[in-house]
């Protein structure tokens, strides 16, 4: 049994932790939160690019560092812990995942080196207003090499240079298309969200030039849809690590506060209502962490169970993070409900991560569907 990260992976995690602690503590997320005009921390992102992080999981032949998913997982945990306001997830978990799994060799050679060198920030656009896109609920059309329609919300829409877009083609089949966002036929608009430390926006296409990614698995009818599902599953695992990083930070903050804050002549952490609450948070975090490891294992080994492991990891992480973030405020009392205290930053992030690639109900459906396939 070796169900843990390797020493090298752990030291990469430490390195990430130290960098973020020194260069990207919560004050950075707060600057982005407070300033409507800032969609991300450009300077921190630049430093990350210089460290090679934008290309950490891009294979060497495309100019990246060529580390694997497990390395990405440990870094994601730290990004989550420090609420790093950078387009790491949009570019790496969504955009690059789509290209690596779906693009032609030529496209990979053209685009990925630009990502690795930080010239290109990417994202993926799939949502179209209320609801989550199902196979037969995609409004954006890809016709004659051009995209038409409206996508919102899209993470990092205001700063991304390129996007992978979920659309339907002339045969009414879902497909993923790659497009350059700096063209006139693309209109961007900023959207206000519950989590302003991670910018979101809308992308409207008026015949924007795009190209379809090569079909996944030899071009079967639903290849575009499969590719999209594959990207979501990878992202579910990677986001789960961001979530457990955030949940861990909430528990640490609440525990520390509970030891130091006195009421009725004793630390509030000596009251059982608080102790048991924090024990519950701990239990939730441990289950989520264990399930996230399962997702990481499935992702890294290319296991058939990925759709099951990813959905389990995601739901578990959503539950743990949202519980940890809301109870962190509760433990902090009135102070926890101020703009000044950091508690709400985690609460906001826990909610936005719970929504971004589909909420827990949607992913629970996937859990049961996969179990049915396995057992029934």
């Amino acid at each position: 049994m070796n169900f843990d990260f390797s020493d090298d992976q752990k030291s990469l995690q430490d390195e990430t932790h130290r960098f973020l602690r020194d260069r990207c503590d919560l004050s950075v997320a707060r600057i982005v939160l407070d300033d409507q005009q800032q969609a991300y921390s450009e300077s921190v992102w630049q430093e990350m690019v210089e460290l090679g992080w934008a290309g950490i999981a891009i294979p060497e032949q495309y100019g990246g560092i060529g580390l694997g998913y497990l390395e990405l997982c440990v870094m994601a945990e730290e990004m989550g812990r420090f609420l790093a306001p950078v387009p790491f997830s949009s570019t790496l978990y969504l955009f690059c995942e789509a290209l690596l799994n779906g693009a032609s060799e030529t496209l990979k050679q053209e685009i990925l080196p630009q990502v690795a060198t930080g010239k290109l920030v990417g994202t993926m656009a799939f949502a179209e207003g209320f609801g989550f896109p199902g196979r037969d609920r995609i409004g954006v059309r890809f016709e004659g090499g051009k995209l038409y329609g409206d996508k919102w919300p899209v993470a990092d829409a205001m700063i991304a240079d390129a996007a992978v877009v979920l659309a339907v083609n002339e045969d009414n089949e879902p497909c993923l298309c790659l497009l350059d966002l700096d063209q006139e036929a693309v209109h961007r608009r900023q959207l206000e969200s519950v989590d302003p430390s991670r910018g979101q926006g809308g992308l409207e296409f008026f015949g924007a030039e795009a190209e379809s990614l090569t079909a996944f698995e030899g071009g079967s009818d639903n290849s575009g849809w499969q590719l999209f599902q594959r990207v979501l599953n990878s992202a579910a695992v990677l986001f789960a690590f961001e979530q457990i990083g955030g949940a861990d930070a909430c528990l640490a903050a609440a525990t520390e506060f509970a030891r130091e804050r006195y009421a009725f002549g004793r630390p509030v952490g000596s009251f059982q209502a608080i102790k048991h609450k924090l024990a519950d948070v701990y239990v939730g975090n441990q289950l989520a962490r264990s399930n996230a490891y399962y997702g990481a294992w499935a992702l890294a080994t290319g296991a058939e169970e990925l759709p099951l492991a990813a959905s389990v990891a995601r739901v578990s992480a959503i539950q743990a993070y949202e519980y940890a973030a809301s109870e962190n405020i509760q433990v902090h009392g009135g102070m926890g409900f101020t703009w000044e205290a950091d508690c709400h930053l985690y609460l906001r992030r826990s909610r936005s991560l719970a929504l971004l690639i589909g909420s827990s109900g949607l992913w629970k459906k996937q859990v049961t569907r996969e179990l049915e396939r396995k057992f029934v």
């Binding site: 049994m1 169900f3 990260f5 102790k275 024990a279 990481a296 080994t301 859990v367």
Partner: protein, 405 residues
Amino acid sequence: MDFDDTPEEAEFRLEVRSWLAEQASAYSLKSFDDLSFERQLSLGREFQARKAERGYAKITWTQELGGMGGTPMQAVIYEQEEEKYNFPTVFFAISLGMPIPVMRRFATEAQQQRYLKPALRGEEVWCQLFSEPSAGSDLGGIRLKAVRDGDDWVLNGQKIWTSYAHISDFGIIVTRTDPAVAKHKGMTFFFVDMKSPGIEVRQIKQAAGGGEFCEVFFSDVRVPDGNRLGEINAGWSVAIATLMEERFAVTDAAGGGAQLEDTMHFLRRELGEGDGGLDDPCVREKIADWYIAESGINNFYARLLTGLSQGQLPGPEAALSKIVIARKLQAQSADIMDFCGPAGAIYPDFQVSRANDYRIAWLEAAGYRIAGGTDEILKNTIAERVLGLPGDIRVDKDIPFEELK
């Protein structure tokens, strides 16, 4: 990252597997319900003797002591494999789980020679006489009195909830020897022969219908001073050592309830496509919830075992598994009953097995949440020993025991 055994572990697993497969036809029954209790116990003893012969009864002990000189990881591997069957091992779980390791630690050489091996072979069963009517979670509140008389101690009082006392040959017991000092400072630990004159065991019918725990009355029971474990009035530290012995066990994440796979087949078969069946969205959401908890526990174990495989023993965080498993068992069993509609309340004729039945599990789970440390006590453990939060305020700490309520 992988779930694989090391080559040595894999070899051991194969060895265990083939041995268990050989035993299965004689000892692993689909159901023991048709057998009398005596027959179940004697089958259990036979299987236990075979286990002991191989050193599997206490894998981490040396061969001299009756074990096989194995690692904690090998012990877990054995449990994982044994759990795939239904062997009658329940009678010895407490006996070998706590009393016998305590004897190993605190009894004299000669006593160890006399008592350890017969217990490993299942010839003798031991029970744990800790809880009393007025002391459970607060073990320090026990009252059963032991008074010195020559070379003996004379015991008077009552123990309760003692699992399997009615089939036990010996028991370990905590007694009050000095009521004039603070509660934790006046207790002494012994082992007793359950056939001693003055001991009366009465089975208590449990809420779920079984009678596996008992009340045990002591009237002028004489126990030789030689049966004392640890120093006079130092019983608390022996008791703590006993509770710490509660070895890390990889229990089934389903908590002995219905396996998810079987439940899904059952719902498909019995409820079809209507309400409560596998297509009902409410059912589907519950299935996801159960699996997420179950998978969380199994993967949590995988993380602990990774440490164990590298020689690190799990710490107090391991307490979380019982909290999760017992609550989940209770909720999941009730959910399945819900899906069945009014018929969910009706017991079937148990042609197959009571053991995994959700109606039985639903009731048993209530006891599981209490036995071996309640949910609340386990949460205290996590809060204090894992998170480092302050201990509860102890109003009884420095007050002589006899002055307490």
